[in-house]
């Protein structure tokens, strides 16, 4: 996989000595959708701002397509489009003008055909002569996306693209983002919603207090997530696990009354039948069995708690 953005030892300390990013290392691959998942104030926007030149870097290096974002800012920034978290626009400007402006600002020759296609793809073409203020919130965000894509960037940053957007529009936005990926754009999006990260992203980075706590392929995370635990209640105190049960990697619960067994329900053999047979042989008496599933939400909460 080809790396398109390379972040090394990035630190950001704001003027009030707030450490917003603390030694962030991250590689973003060409063509992927990566979701930055984290609570309010985690540092997601700061990370994006540092890459795009909106906020100054305290220390560390960022390269976009091999170009340093400080030393070779022109080349680096040409490859980037950004949609900010807050809806910011010139209220009285027409949609088409503001999109054309963005393209020129990024030093690109006018290209009516490209802009027309872009606006059509985002369902904005009919509204191209309206002033932005007169559009609905969801449409305004699309205008910002159109502006960000107007100069044909390779990388698109979407800072909370679905914040404050209703269910219908959110699905619409997800589709739009998927389509963009199919057209070859690398996408970095931030979100609070686990389901959004789960649905959209190829990889998920969990970020909190300015640190990346975890980054993995979504599928791996889901594998982890789909682990189940079998809880076996017994009527006697268990102090030691019988040798015969050694291969099952059992845990003893805190009150010493239960045995806990982790398994993946997706696998053909979960090992439950054998385990229960072996337990029977040891003579432990069972009262009840119960299963527990952890999901990404719990993993997330767990990670944040341990941080």
């Amino acid at each position: 996989m080809q790396t398109i953005i390379e972040i090394k030892n990035l630190r950001k300390i704001y003027k009030d000595n707030k450490v917003a990013l603390d030694d962030v290392n991250l590689n973003i691959f060409k063509g992927e959708i990566i979701a930055l998942l984290g609570p309010n104030g985690a540092g997601k926007t700061t990370l994006i701002s540092n890459i795009c030149g909106i906020s100054s870097i305290t220390s560390g290096d960022i390269k976009v397509k091999g170009f340093d974002v400080v030393e070779n800012y022109r080349e680096a920034r040409k490859c980037i489009g950004i949609v900010p978290q807050e809806l910011s626009f010139e209220p009285f400007e027409k949609v088409i003008n503001t999109v054309n402006f963005s393209r020129q600002l990024f030093g690109k020759k006018p290209n009516e055909k490209y802009i027309e296609n872009l606006l059509k793809k985002l369902s904005l073409w009919e509204k191209k002569d309206q002033i932005i203020r007169s559009l609905s919130g969801g449409m305004k965000r699309r205008v910002l996306i159109a502006k960000a894509l107007s100069h044909e960037p390779d990388v698109l940053f979407l800072d909370e693209p679905t914040a404050g957007v209703d269910v219908e529009l959110r699905k619409d936005m997800w589709n739009t983002i998927k389509n963009l990926q199919n057209s070859g754009v690398t996408i970095i999006l931030t979100t609070h919603y686990i389901e959004e990260a789960e649905l959209m992203a190829n990889r998920i980075a969990v970020i909190n207090n300015g640190k990346i706590l975890l980054i993995d392929k979504k599928d791996n995370l889901i594998d982890r997530m789909s682990k189940k635990t079998l809880i076996i209640h017994t009527n006697s105190k268990i102090n030691k696990i019988d040798k015969a049960l050694g291969k099952f990697k059992l845990r003893i619960s805190k009150d010493k009354k239960n045995l806990e067994y982790d398994y993946s329900p997706n696998k053909k053999k979960t090992g439950i039948t054998t385990l229960l047979n072996e337990i029977k042989k040891t003579g432990i008496e069972l009262i009840d069995v119960q299963t527990k599933q952890s999901n990404l939400e719990q993993i997330f909460v767990e990670i944040l708690k341990n941080d």
């Binding site: 030149g53 800012y73 950004i82 910011s88 020129q104 600002l105 990024f106 030093g107």
Partner: protein
Amino acid sequence: MINFRSIKAIYIFEMSRTFRTLIQSLISPILSTVLYFIVFGTAIGNNINFTNEIPYGAFIVPGLVILTISMQSVNNASFGIFFPKFLGTTYEILSAPISYVEIVIGYVGASATKSFCLGLLILITSTFFVDLNIKFPILMLCMLLLSCVSFSLLGFIIGIVSDNFEQINFVPMIIITPLVFLGGSFYTIDVLPDFWQTITLLNPIFYLVSGFRYSFFGTGEVNILISIFSISLFILLCIIIIWRIFKTGYKIKT
């Protein structure tokens, strides 16, 4: 390598904002100029004579032009850069592949263009009231341009440093207007008591008005070279401040 396309984008964007409100942006400065002419030039002016050759009505033309374009340049440039800050659209400028110099050329250029045109309009308006024979037209245009650029640079600084609309209006009202009025726009300083004459020599706008007046009538209170030198000094000072602002990201980058 200069990115002309980006400069042009900012420049045209800024100019088109003016065209949306063209009538307002022209009527008020021209109307106030006309009022000045009626009151000072015609009503009172007939009884005043500072210089034997020049009628008072003509004498105040350079000062009036400076008065208007200084206010307009500062306003144009400060709002030009303050609005994006206020609306949050600076993110786009900052993330674009353009240098600070190009940003400044775009914004200051647009602002200076607007006030330069306005200055010419005021000159044309004044010919309805007085006979104007401009002695050094090229010099006059250069001085006008330099003034527009210098006050636009100042306005750009004010727009960046300001946090709200009140602060933007504060500097022009509290500093620039008094300096223009006391800088010999409506009188020659030899009518002032010695003490105030000395004070006036510290007023940068005095040199500007004097130099500008020289280009009209061939006489000024100070040598034209001193005037040009002091304007250039002022422009240089503004450029250094802007350079520092961008270098440190003060009030622009977080």
